[in-house]
């Protein structure tokens, strides 16, 4: 997680008082961060925004069942990951999506740094969604393995395996190794 991102405690908003404005404040505070996470998982900004909005809608629908409003950040992160997994559940959707992104890699190689970046980007998006989510949650969100396991619904050992296989797959690309 980048240092400039706000911590959970700073984002705590008491629910119940001036309900609507508080909800708006929570959304405005957390949405950009959620969109970045969703973008890393999908590589598609429009889709990322849709997923974050959907996650927020679900949160509002379950507001009465949320015992700890401080946990909103965790709830948002978990919902985004689950929504991404659902989105890529159908292999056909994922395949066509990856093919579309793979086609974008060839374009625009003027900058010497761009090929490597674009190649890594394409390689990341080509990973299975669980591996991608594990890598993003570990290296971008800086979450411990236990928390990642909770979000992905698996054991910590599985998380280690997912990360190791994902990183190994990224290293298979020649440009990445150089």
């Amino acid at each position: 997680m980048t240092p400039e991102r706000e911590t959970t405690s700073a984002a705590v908003v008491p629910f119940g008082v001036s309900h609507r404005s508080r909800l708006g404040e929570v959304y405005a505070r957390h949405a950009p961060e959620g969109i970045r996470l969703a973008y890393l998982l999908t590589g598609d900004r429009a889709l990322a925004e849709d997923l974050v909005q959907e996650a927020f809608l679900r949160f509002v629908g379950r507001l009465h069942f949320v015992r700890n409003p401080d946990a909103f950040e965790g709830y948002l992160r978990r919902t985004i990951v689950n929504l991404c997994k659902n989105h890529f559940r159908h292999r056909a959707v994922e395949r066509s999506y990856l093919a579309r992104h793979a086609g974008q890699v060839v374009e625009g190689r003027a900058d010497p740094d761009v090929p490597t970046y674009e190649t890594i980007r394409a390689a990341l998006l080509a990973l299975p969604v669980r591996q991608r989510a594990a890598i993003v949650l570990r290296y971008y969100e800086d979450l411990p393995e236990g928390q990642i396991a909770e979000i992905l619904g698996c054991r910590p050992a599985t998380v280690r395996s997912l990360i190791a296989r994902g990183i190994e797959a990224l290293r298979q690309i020649p440009e990445v190794l150089t």
């Binding site: 909800l23 969109i35 970045r36 900004r45 509002v60 980007r121 990224l170």
Partner: protein, 183 residues
């Protein structure tokens, strides 16, 4: 990408790819409240429908549900409070006889109805481990027989048909188990 820091740097760079302006929560909040209202109204409507259905149909369902009957063996073909009619399908050379059994205050009233004129068959009742021969079907008419009540209110009986022309341990028999209740 050879170290964890490389991965972190790459992810931070990729996360910063799309330029994010300020997020306007108003449309999302409006959408959230619309969805909440829709969910609430659908659930409320379903609840009201369910309650109305229970109120309207509940008493009828309660009245229509039969009184719990005593346990009946699996082979039961008829269960009725007072009257049962069975048909012996017969085995081999045995024939078909219809038997109507009614429980009255003085015992079981059994009517052996001749379905196949010209042939004879025996009808018997097994009750409390004892087999009581009700009699033979008459070739010409229906025969009535009363088996005295032994004071029980509920009778678990097995009614069987047999062709008396076949004698021996392998004589085909057919039992119909049923439960009859005194009026």
């Amino acid at each position: 990408m050879n170290s964890d820091d490389d991965v972190r740097r790459f992810l931070d760079r990729m996360a910063a790819e799309p330029g994010y302006g300020s997020v306007d929560p108003a449309p999302v909040l409006a959408r959230a409240h619309r969805r909440l209202a829709r969910t609430t109204s659908v659930l409320g409507l379903a609840g009201v429908t369910l309650v109305a259905a229970i109120v309207m149909l509940g008493p009828n369902l309660l009245q229509a549900s039969p009184a719990p009957a005593p346990a009946v063996p699996a082979a039961a073909v008829a269960t009725t409070p007072q009257v049962a009619r069975i048909t012996c399908l017969g085995h081999g050379r045995s024939h078909l006889d219809s038997t109507t059994v009614a429980v009255q205050s003085d015992g079981l009233h059994v009517a052996i109805i001749q379905d196949h004129p010209g042939r004879r068959g025996q009808v018997f009742i097994r009750r409390s481990g004892w087999m009581v021969s009700v009699g033979f079907s008459d070739p010409d008419h229906t025969r009535f027989r009363t088996v005295p009540s032994v004071g029980a209110r509920v009778h678990h009986v097995a009614i069987g048909c047999i062709d008396p022309s076949i004698v021996g341990s392998s004589t085909p028999r057919e039992f119909h188990r049923l439960t009859l209740v005194h009026p």
